[in-house]
Symmetry: C2
Subunit: 216 residues, 2 copies
């Protein structure tokens, strides 16, 4: 028994090593420039070995995808102590953009690249209630709950919490993705990250005005 569990462990170790190496290369050079052959070379195995542990390239990046959400939740965790739900909402949007700027390639993988979504489509038909998606659901649920609390306090009168959560996410994602995919430099002379920061502050300002709003 102990000998077969050792083998089991070694298999898992190799799988983890492939994943970690993929992550390193991906962080260094991005998705396009990371090849199965590169990964194989760095871990000193033949490229085909990787296919014994992962279905295909998308499958590897789908696994990294999950790690991204774990990290994002770490950025969110301290914010659960912010008592005022509206302050918490603004803190979430700030933490989100900080995460995006500090982990550009990972953000790209999680929210821009098609690849991990393709992997999801291939063998998972359930989508939402898949255990790999748990961390993603947790992150989004935190946002939805915060907005529900805002509404319970009388903010955002007449708005649907889930739609507003998606909309808020869209707004900050818009800033982050334009920054990551280099669309900021083209329209403004400002430093790119400054522009992103100022846009994010403005989103908070707009949310502020919107949540305080009382029809006249």
């Amino acid at each position: 028994m102990t000998i077969s569990t050792r083998k089991e462990r070694q298999k898992e170790e190799l799988k983890a090593k492939i994943l970690q190496t993929a992550k390193e290369l991906f962080m260094e050079h991005g998705y396009e420039a990371t090849s199965i052959r590169n990964i194989a070379e760095r871990i000193e195995y033949s490229p085909t070995t990787i296919y014994l542990y992962f279905k295909d390239k998308d499958d590897i990046f789908y696994a990294l995808h999950r790690e991204g959400f774990v990290l994002l939740n770490q950025y969110f965790r301290p914010l659960s102590h912010v008592a005022n739900p509206f302050e918490r909402l603004k803190a979430i949007s700030k933490a989100y953009i900080t995460f995006a700027i500090e982990n550009g390639e990972l953000y790209d993988l999680m929210f821009i690249l098609q690849s991990p979504m393709d992997a999801l489509k291939k063998d998972k038909s359930d989508k939402k209630d898949d255990p790999d998606w748990e961390e993603g659901n947790r992150a989004f649920a935190f946002l939805v709950n915060t907005i529900e609390e805002c509404i319970a306090m009388g903010s955002f009168k007449g708005m649907n919490a889930e739609i507003l959560a998606f909309t808020t996410w869209s707004m900050v994602h818009g800033v982050c993705s334009l920054e990551i995919r280099n669309r900021c430099s083209v329209i403004s002379e400002l430093n790119q990250k400054d522009l992103a920061q100022r846009a994010c502050e403005m989103i908070n300002e707009i949310l502020d005005r919107s949540h305080n709003y009382t029809p006249s």
Copy 2:
């Protein structure tokens, strides 16, 4: 003279034909699945011929990029007749998302793909005042001008027009890019395009509340 002008014309015709074929294939199958060899095969030339007309693959897609902005401006054109600047702003955001949904692949090229930005980086150092970028500038200027008119009318008190324009663009881009890159289906049971539409309406609602806002 007339014989050499004919040759000149034929060269331009072939260049246009390459571009049009690239566009067709790109619209049908997306960026990744469109290869130089595919294009060459369809126009019945050898793949290397394409390199006599375009520097590389990015260069081809950068050219299509420009056409995308021409089309976007066509969506915007009728809106210049909307007299009320705030109504015009909301109409712009609606037209933008309609453009994105009706021309998904083109939108992807213009605002998501890295490729055309790489082409821009390669041989253009001026960036903003490059003639190829004229149509893009026109589209953004239309948004900035509209917001400036809003501010002149007393809306969005205390906000910077350019930053607000960028922020507004970010907000609608966020919705469009999440939809195009398949991140909607994961978080909601709603039909993807419905979700995008509702998010866009909510952005207009938020802008509405924000522009009506008077500090209490």
